[in-house]
């Protein structure tokens, strides 16, 4: 019985080989390998097969690979062995997101790090070049302006000299909302001592 079934399969294989005139070799896969290919379900309508004049040069209009991107269904023609055209109905493939079919080795695990990111400072760049009217302080020159900063929510600020930016940490429990600008001045007449001074200015 089993041998009869296998024999029948071999006959079918031979018939197919003859049909494609040696262009296609038909082989059976051992069951173990066949299980590896686990594709998502493909929804498609009935397939119409029609014969073409062999002299007609039918271009291959698309490939299955390009269909993966297809959201709007469209007509696709495939030419096989130069003699048969398969007019397929719209083919729509949308890989499943979570279960069944293809799933990526690393599934999209989402992590919540809200509390942790609050430890990272915000960065303020120097905006002095955009000022149309620079604040004047006698004997000093404005060299940097950092804005906006919620002064009353500020826990700590650090000037990073290499990049010329100000790092600021806020008290996340503060309700303060009023923005200010923080200006850095350099004293022009100071030969020694503290030559820099900070001043808070009203928000822009």
């Amino acid at each position: 019985m089993k041998r009869g079934f296998i024999g029948r399969l071999e006959e079918i294989g031979e018939s197919l080989s003859r049909l494609f005139a040696g262009r296609v070799r038909v082989r059976s896969l051992p069951p173990r390998r066949a299980r590896v290919a686990f594709l998502p379900p493909v929804r498609r309508g009935p397939i119409n097969i029609e014969h073409l004049d062999s002299r007609q040069n039918t271009p291959v209009m698309g490939s299955l690979a390009s269909e993966w991107r297809c959201v709007r269904p469209h007509r696709m023609n495939l030419a096989l062995a130069g003699s048969v055209k398969i007019c397929s109905a719209p083919l729509e493939v949308r890989p499943p997101l979570t279960k069944g079919g293809l799933s990526f080795g690393i599934s999209p695990t989402i992590k919540d790090a809200t509390e942790r990111i609050r430890f990272l400072p915000q960065v303020r760049g120097n905006r002095v070049r955009y000022l149309k009217e620079k604040p004047f302080v006698e004997g000093s020159g404005l060299i940097a302006l950092f804005s906006p900063i919620i002064k009353d929510a500020l826990l700590r600020e650090v000037l990073e000299r290499e990049r010329g930016v100000l790092l600021i940490w806020y008290d996340v429990s503060s309700d303060a909302m009023l923005p200010y600008m923080l200006a850095l001045f350099r004293r022009l007449d100071a030969s020694q001592g503290d030559i820099f001074s900070w001043r808070w200015l009203p928000g822009a």
Binding site: W68, K111, R116, P179
Partner: protein, 187 residues
């Protein structure tokens, strides 16, 4: 101008480096203080998956795997979703509960007044002056967004820009993901 309480901006950033894809969403109040921060662990498709999905792989991972998951995970809903990749706009317009925009810095001189908007040749693109002491930002809204909706987006940006640097959260997200990778930030 002091910011209104309860309003928030959402920032989405995707990072693709070699075969690794990662994404994060940061929602801040109008002072830039984080209200919600979610990130995906890096996703690395196998060679077989690259072959099977072909050119569609990147889009699939970016949109359906990362963005969709982040949008679902975020609990604090922002007034706007801000992204720095204009390719994400179409997907976000379809799937996000609030308007999505693309925002980018420019090196132009400041426009004459806060609130001034200059349409750009690209569809849906504008230069917008959100505060008096910075370069105008390049704003892109999804094609077909009405004039009133664009003005509404601009007014939200102007209000937020009075008390925070609008593009700064993108850099903070990147630093946070680097910190995660280095083991400095854990769940």
């Amino acid at each position: 101008m002091s910011p209104q309480k309860g309003l928030a901006l959402g920032y989405l950033r995707l990072i693709e480096e070699g075969n690794l894809f990662q994404g994060a969403a940061l929602v801040t109040d109008f002072r830039g203080i984080p209200l919600d921060f979610r990130y995906t662990e890096p996703i690395s498709p196998t060679r077989l998956e690259r072959i099977l999905y072909g050119d569609a792989l990147d889009v699939y991972i970016r949109e359906e795997v990362i963005l969709e998951s982040l949008l679902k995970a975020v609990e604090v809903k922002p007034s706007l979703w801000v992204c720095n990749d204009r390719k994400l706009l179409e997907f976000l317009e379809e799937h996000a509960a609030c308007p999505p925009i693309f925002l980018e810095s420019t090196s132009y001189s400041p426009l004459d007044a806060v609130g001034e908007m200059v349409p750009q040749p690209e569809a849906g693109a504008y230069l917008v002056q959100v505060d008096p002491i910075s370069a105008p930002l390049k704003l892109i809204v999804p094609v077909g967004t009405g004039e009133d909706a664009v003005k509404s987006v601009a007014s939200i940006l102007i209000e937020a820009a009075a008390s925070m640097e609008l593009l700064e959260p993108f850099a903070r997200i990147k630093r946070a993901l680097e910190a995660v990778a280095a083991g400095e930030i854990t769940e």
